[in-house]
Amino acid sequence: MSALLRIEGLNVSVGRGGPRLLRDVSLSVAAGETHGLVGESGAGKSMIGKAIAGVLPRGIAVRSGRILFDGQDLTALPRRARRRLVGERIAIIPQDPLTALNPCRRIGGQITDRLVHILGWDAGRARARAAELLDEVAIREPGRVMQAYPHEVSGGMRQRVLIAAAFAAEPALIIADEPTTALDVTVQRQVLRLIGELQARHGTALLFVTHDMGVVAKLCRSLSVLYAGKVVDQGPAARIFGPDPHPYARALIAATPRYDRPEESLMPVPEAVIAALDAEVAAADRDWTDG
């Protein structure tokens, strides 16, 4: 089966010759599959999603490697063509529902944006589609919500709106960047369930970025564990959470608190594990020259 998304040897750095934020990252996601990206802060997990969508912050750029989406190398496409392709086929669900909706625009327009301006739908059809989607994410009065401004609806509702907006154009891939980190656990569960349902129904591939080993375990069949911009472990969840994880992945799992086995959780990451990783990273950096 050919992958929908395949990343090969991706290097991202601050400025030319500056520090690397991603180090030779490779991964692939098949159509309809869910892949998890886990790591602690600074591991570069969000950077991968930003590199795919082409929204890296100023001054940070892809230095080498390929991002193959449906067989096309995104990094080699002209800027306009790339924007169009990403606009049509890839969507993002961001972390913070508070800052992810433009406070000055009505919600409806923010859902239909992509349909009207990128796909060229007429306004009526786009609005009908938006209403349909809001209905799908269990928002009861789609008409009223579309007329509302973001501050007029609750936080949980805003996150649903963002999910609806992400699925609006039937993208092939959705990048979810810590979409539940700001939420309470009970709400988190509803939102995860919603994403899962929509994903199954629409056959969308999902790249799920999170720091929470628990969430990955429940949501993803396969995952990549990152440390300092480097993939240290990659494979099926059944292996990594089961018999044969990389020592760092094992340590992250053991550090996660769990109410069912309190004495075996919250284990600090052994210093030897970190030291070994740091040595690996340093060795890789010695060999790397800015292409």
């Binding site: 656990v185 375990a217 996660t256 109410y259």
Partner: protein
Amino acid sequence: MAEPLIEARDLRLALPDLNARPLFGAAPRVEILKGLSFDVARGRVLGIVGESGSGKSTLGRCLVRLLEPTGGTLRFDGDDITHADTRALKRHRRDLQMIFQDPMSSLNPRHSVLRLVEAPMRLYGVANAEDRAREVLERVQLGGAFARRYPHQLSGGQRQRVGIARALALSPRFILADEIVSGLDVSTQAQIIRLLERLVDEMDLTLAFISHDLSVIRRLCHEVIVLRAGEIVEAGPTAEVFAAPKHPYTAELKAAIPLPDPDAGWLSQP
């Protein structure tokens, strides 16, 4: 059994509603704490758990009297401190300490680590304040050169250790820890919790630990109260509450926690 260190009876707090500001007269008040009764026993760790809007941080600030309750009584070591003014509180201040959620905002950026930890001791004229401060810093594994650094030069975990050291500086009889690991990575969180656990053992601390994370509470706390919308829905020894939650809300909270075990069925469970 001995008298509890802190005794809250029907504790209430109402604050003016900032969203509704009528043209005339006082703003209507919203009840944030709706009559809470519980004890913190000496040498024990009480967990206070709840989701956003449950009032757990407000309750914390009442316990150390940063806020004044508007109803009920709050006793510390037998003394009624519900409405005690600054002067009356002065006696108890050094025994009621707090560790804040956000160390970046709770550590004055212009003071060095040593000065931050020393300040409370100097205020109470403790002898050899500097040596004592270094000792306390040693206890939280921030010995040596750390004393001279400033908050912005530290990592999140290190800053939180400074917060802990400052709270320990006066050897208080009660410490409130308000969401002190919520902004940290799991590996750092594990270190801080371990440290706190050790300190509780070694120094026989009495602690109230506020958190939204049931798993952390389960590990650290002897007793727990579960808060929802300003009311206690369940209280009891942690092990018992977890083994058999009596209130459906507690059970719901517990079920919503994703444990790090692969389980595709978890999402679709009711």
